[in-house]
């Protein structure tokens, strides 16, 4: 995957500031939609023969069209590939190539789901669901690998280490969040969204409502166990106070969702569906933030060095650019004369000593070597003990070139 490495430029300082925000945003754009689409299609398989209408309705909770696949699947995955390559720039872990390898089966999985729903072929939906299960299991292992830097030197396989406890727990968390989100999305789309809601007399409406509420309550009740397990098995350097605060916030939201879903199970109609859906989206967002806090804490030293090298590279580039500009600068004699009159004459004359030495005494040593005079003007140093050091005038490159040219010309004319 050298091609991938060669495509990357070192990240700049401003880019590094935006990088964590973009990573979290892209994961949040991708994972909730992917989870909802995956679980709803899996569930539609359960109803495929017994209740085709319910299966069709589940298929339209997260519609897989060209635009949704591009916006929620292809674009975020392609962005994540480059964002993680930049996040781990200079490190030996091939996260970018792993994501690239995962992107194809994941996109293929979603295309199979879309094809299966469109042609009403259960085999395509089943194949797509299996492909996605495998794809997201490996995706979990890649995310896990990012906050386990001690494993990086020993990677020998084309895919990361998949069967460790931390990876399995991480994948379980993804599955449970997807179940929770899918339950909330089914309620939101089929029972709240005015254009898509089921007719009141639809025979399978109550079955779907109860199933969705059971998914929300099941997800909210099981998720804390795996979330705590994940914190327990997370590597020590990946932990930070942020991870614990975010987990506590997730627990509060899950408690509200669990109480809401259990209460609604006891009623014949559901209320506050939109708020519950937003709550479920917030849970997934907070869990993504928590995951990112683990990755950031585990890589904090790398991050410090990356920021420093970026700042150094930027300064070096600016220096080279300034030198190049200075080399190609065309001196402006009028500007030089103005600076001479405004500033230089306060301390210097050509033929007499004022505060500084007379020009006729010091300029001959710069004759034919304007660069030397420009260097002095950029950064004046004390030369003659008989005179005080000249203060730095803070001139721009154009001003330096202009005043140096003016002084040497005037000196040559007066000879």
């Amino acid at each position: 995957m050298d091609i991938l490495k060669n495509m990357l430029l070192p990240p700049g300082v401003e880019h590094l500031q935006m990088l964590p925000v973009l990573v979290v945003f892209m994961l949040w754009a991708h994972l909730p939609f992917a989870g909802i689409a995956w679980i709803c299609n899996l569930l539609s398989l359960v109803f495929w023969r017994r209740n085709p209408a319910a299966a069709r309705d589940l298929g339209r909770v997260a519609p897989l069209t060209w635009s949704t696949v591009c916006i929620f699947i292809v674009l975020p995955l392609a962005s994540l590939l480059f964002l993680f390559q930049h996040f781990l720039f200079g490190e030996m872990v091939p996260v970018g190539s792993y994501i690239l390898r995962l992107t194809l089966p994941i996109i293929l999985g979603f295309l199979l789901l879309a094809l299966g729903q469109h042609r009403r072929q259960a085999a395509f939906v089943a194949a797509g669901s299996v492909l996605l299960a495998g794809g997201y299991f490996f995706f979990s292992s890649v995310m896990n690998l990012i906050f386990t830097p001690e494993k990086w030197p020993f990677i020998r396989r084309p895919m990361p280490d998949v069967f460790s406890v931390t990876v399995v727990v991480h994948f379980k968390v993804f599955c449970l969040v997807s179940v929770l989100l899918a339950g909330a999305a089914i309620l939101f789309v089929l029972f709240h969204w005015p254009e898509k809601r089921l007719p009141v007399d639809a025979p399978h409406a109550e079955t779907l409502r109860r199933m969705a509420l059971a998914m929300v309550s099941g997800g909210s009740l099981l998720l804390p166990v795996f979330m705590i397990w994940e914190l327990y098995v997370a590597p020590e350097p990946a932990l930070s106070l942020n991870a614990f605060w975010l987990s506590a916030l997730v627990l509060v939201l899950l408690a509200v969702l669990a109480i809401w879903s259990v209460t609604m199970l006891g009623r014949s109609a559901s209320r506050w569906i939109a708020a519950a859906f937003v709550g479920a989206l917030a849970v997934s967002g907070l869990l993504i933030l928590k995951d990112h806090s683990l990755q950031a804490a585990a890589n904090q030293e790398h991050w410090v060095l990356l920021n420093e090298s970026s700042a150094r590279a930027l300064a070096e580039w600016q220096g080279q650019r300034a030198a190049q500009l200075a080399k190609n600068m065309v001196a402006d004699d009028k500007l030089g004369e103005k600076i001479y009159n405004d500033r230089c004459t306060a301390c210097h004359r050509f033929d007499q000593k004022v505060v500084g030495p007379p020009y006729n005494q010091v300029l001959p040593k710069y004759a034919g070597d304007m660069e030397k005079l420009k260097t002095f003007l950029r950064n004046p140093v004390k030369v003659d003990a008989a005179y005080p050091a000249m203060p730095n005038q803070g001139l721009t490159e154009l001003e330096v070139a202009s005043v140096a040219s003016f002084l040497l010309k005037k000196h040559d004319e007066g000879k």
Binding site: L251, G266, L305
Partner: protein, 172 residues
């Protein structure tokens, strides 16, 4: 048929309180035992190893020649700090230890169990970079343990470098 779920709510609240206590306990354990310890002097590797570019062996003189890397004696610090940055609070503290001829009681960060005989000398001789076990210490303001230093991790490295994994290599 509507279920009577009202009775379940106290059970749910209790369950989430237990979960919150578990998260709190894990957080407390991490704060107390796992995060980077506070040292008697807030020494910054970031300034010394990164900004000033000092080699690790400049201070940890034992690493290449003995089993232990050794913490530098106060005299090594004072070679520079008798005149450098003497007005900074941490250097004032350092000078206080020097004047009182009292050693600084650093908190050990990279500890191994008593039955492991790790020698720095052999690893340095085999060109194992310090960062392999200690991470990028030069980017740390306060040193923390970034590798688990468990047996499995050591064995992974030995296998990758095709070095013996006999028990007696480390447990003699």
């Amino acid at each position: 048929m509507a279920l009577n779920t009202r009775k379940l709510i106290p059970v749910l609240v209790g369950y989430f309180v237990v979960c919150a206590l578990a998260v709190g306990a894990l957080g407390w354990y991490w704060l107390e035992y796992q995060q980077a310890p506070v040292q008697p002097i807030d020494f910054s590797h970031r300034i010394h190893a990164n900004k000033l570019g000092l080699e690790c062996s400049f201070c940890h003189t034992g690493a290449a020649v003995s089993a232990r890397a050794t913490v530098p004696p106060l005299s090594r610090c004072m070679e520079c700090h008798e005149s450098a940055a003497t007005d900074r609070p941490e250097i004032v503290k350092l000078t206080g230890y020097w004047k009182a001829q009292q050693p600084i009681e650093w908190v050990k960060v990279h500890s191994l169990p008593w039955h492991v005989r790790f020698t720095h000398k052999r690893h340095i001789a085999a060109n194992v970079d310090c960062t392999v076990c200690h991470g990028e210490v030069k980017a740390e303001s306060r040193v923390r343990r970034v590798r688990s230093l468990t047996m499995g991790w050591c064995v992974d490295c030995h296998r990758a470098k095709q070095v013996s994994v006999d028990c007696w290599i480390c447990h003699h």
